[in-house]
């Protein structure tokens, strides 16, 4: 499986209702995930699993990830995480 290295800080999404803001930056050897969600009590475990699964699929093993969730559905969370990983792992164009 490919590995994706997070090289810089990046973000995707928004803090609008039904959306999620995902922020990623280079980690300290592991995945460090911080979740803030308006539906944490109801879906906190689901949200954590969705984010960790998506990071794994994208080959990210070393990153600090902070999310602010405003009730996004699973497919929105996946899309935002993927976009964020892509942005955080791109090489700067010279």
């Amino acid at each position: 499986m490919h590995e994706t290295k997070i090289t810089k800080m990046a973000k995707a999404g928004s803090v609008e209702s039904n959306d999620i803001l995902v922020m990623i930056s280079p980690g300290e050897g592991k995945i460090d995930l911080e979740i803030e969600s308006v539906v944490y009590n109801q879906y906190g475990d689901d949200i954590r699993k969705t984010i960790l699964d998506t990071l794994q699929e994208e080959g990210v093993t070393d990153a600090k990830v902070i999310v602010k969730d405003k009730g996004a559905l699973d497919f929105t969370i996946r899309a935002r995480v993927k976009a964020c990983v892509k942005r955080g792992s791109e090489q700067d164009e010279l």
Binding site: S17, N18, V38, V39, N41, Q42, Y43, G71, L73
Partner: protein
């Protein structure tokens, strides 16, 4: 009349000339000395005091008076407030120090509700409907010792008008029962006007004292965040489908009556209804409830004969109340007291919101998604019971908060009085209303079973973990007739 039937002529005493009355001047009712007034009121531990909420989040009278009661060291008060708002978070310390023991209200939002849900109230909270509140006061179930009536204007005898004064808030429908039944009535005002103050919502014969204060609050706080038509396309679709439901029900004909709340989707329904009425040359009898500018426009366009107004929701409604003779004041009792003839019993269609609805059509508008007090019946129970067609409008998908449950957290309005649920993914009809199901299918509306809609929503959103509650009962959801329809539990911290 025993008096007339048992007259004993020998015992009748004629007034002696020496005892003839003088042309006395009655005691001045007006004071700005709150300490002196409270000496006279002699409020004791365990007393029942009441307030109305026409100034909504702009009210400062409830906090002002309750803090004075706290200062005097009076304990175990039962606070009967028609509604409580975020501004009343200032009362949280009064729960903790035992000034306030019980609360009776019809709606509560903000940190005070959260504190109560977390167990800060020593006694109980009773959540009533607007009509149920009037019933319980008028039939003596709740005996108010002192009613403090935030008065936008009063003259020196206590004629209170809601349309005069710098903080005019319009009709005073929720304060009428209090003014009639409380042992003492205090008009609290920042606007003392010339006698006679008219039109009076509450007249001088019901008012014992007038307390002059610097400010009763801020009129701008009347307009709460919910009085704008939704711009959300999903909300607008729900509103359009709701109009189709109304049309298919066969109730939209000349002389029909209508009520909707001030939520974004409800207001959109009102707006689409207006277009429909103009297009089809339809004229309604009345619209009722909390009144907004959307409805006063329709009144002035001749689309309704009259408005029954228990509470003005915006400043345009206040202006209309002032100038339109067919914009009628309505007390909470006339609105929905189940023990008398009421406006809700003449209502054809009502549009209502829901925080949660269950597969038996029971609705919760009392607690929020975290299980904490964040709302209340208001007129929900009353209009659902009285109307020919009660329609709940709500988004199925809204910030991943589940709408349809097996059992709502707290039952506010029983499913036996709820007819239709309209969501963006389909229309559910209460199986008790087979007549509607047939009509809607004939009109090719997207009718779906509520159990199927719930399953669909869980497939997309996942199944939410249930809200964690403790075993401790902190209050009751009371039905409009005074019976208890559900418990309210303390939440787990």
């Amino acid at each position: 009349m025993d008096y007339l039937n048992n007259i004993d002529l020998d015992s009748i005493k004629i007034i002696d000339k020496s005892e003839y009355p003088t042309k006395g001047i009655k005691k001045d009712k007006v004071t700005n000395d709150i300490d002196n007034l409270f000496k006279e009121l002699n409020i004791h531990d365990g007393a029942v005091v009441s307030f109305h909420h026409h100034l909504r989040n702009g009210d400062s009278v409830t906090n002002l008076i309750m803090k004075h009661i706290q200062k005097l060291g009076i304990k175990d008060i039962t606070l009967v407030a028609s509604s409580l708002f975020p501004t009343n978070k200032e009362l949280i310390p009064l729960l903790k120090d035992g000034t306030i023991k019980n609360i009776v209200t019809s709606y509560i939002s903000g940190e005070l509700g959260e504190a109560i849900s977390q167990g800060e109230l020593k006694g109980y909270i009773i959540m009533q409907s607007h009509g149920g509140r009037a019933r319980s006061i008028l039939n003596g179930e709740i005996e108010i010792d002192v009613a403090f009536i935030a008065s936008p204007s009063s003259d020196n005898k206590g004629n209170i008008s809601g349309v005069n004064g710098i903080n005019s808030c319009g009709t005073l429908g929720y304060a009428i029962a209090d003014s009639m039944m409380a042992k003492k009535v205090v008009a609290v005002t920042d606007s003392l006007v010339e006698y006679p103050n008219y039109p009076a919502d509450i007249t001088e014969d019901y008012v014992d004292h007038i307390l002059l204060v610097d400010s009763i609050g801020l009129k701008s706080g009347i307009v709460s965040g919910t009085t704008m038509i939704t711009k959300d396309p999903i909300g607008l679709k729900i509103a359009k489908d709701t109009l189709k439901v109304m049309e298919a029900s066969g109730l939209l004909k000349d002389g029909f009556s209508f009520q909707s709340g001030a939520g974004g989707i409800s207001l959109a329904v009102t707006s689409f209804l207006r277009e429909y009425m103009i297009e089809n040359n339809l004229k309604g009898s009345f619209a009722s409830g909390g009144i907004t500018g959307y409805l006063t426009d329709m009144l002035e366009e001749g689309l309704f004969d009259a408005l029954f107004d228990v509470q003005c929701f915006d400043l345009q409604a206040i202006e209309s109340l002032k100038k339109n003779p067919n914009h009628l004041r309505m007390s909470a009792s006339q609105y929905g007291n189940p023990e008398v003839s009421t406006v809700v019993d003449n209502l054809d269609i009502v549009i209502l919101g829901a925080t949660e609805i269950d597969t038996n059509f029971n609705v919760n508008v009392t607690t929020g998604s975290h299980g904490m007090l964040m709302g209340g019946s208001g007129g929900h129970q009353d209009t659902a019971a009285g109307s020919k067609l009660s329609i709940i409008v709500s988004k199925l998908f809204s910030s991943r908060i589940p709408l349809i449950k097996d059992r709502v957290d707290v039952i506010t309005t029983p499913g036996s009085t709820v007819d239709v649920l309209v969501t963006e993914r389909g229309i559910c009809v209460n199986p008790l209303r087979q007549d509607l199901i047939e009509k809607f299918k004939e009109a090719k509306l997207n009718v779906v079973d509520i159990n199927e809609l719930k399953a669909y929503s869980e497939k997309i959103m996942g199944v939410a973990k249930p809200i964690e509650k403790t075993e401790r009962v902190i209050g009751f959801s009371e039905y409009r007739d005074g019976r208890i329809i559900d418990y309210i539990y303390e939440v787990k911290r």
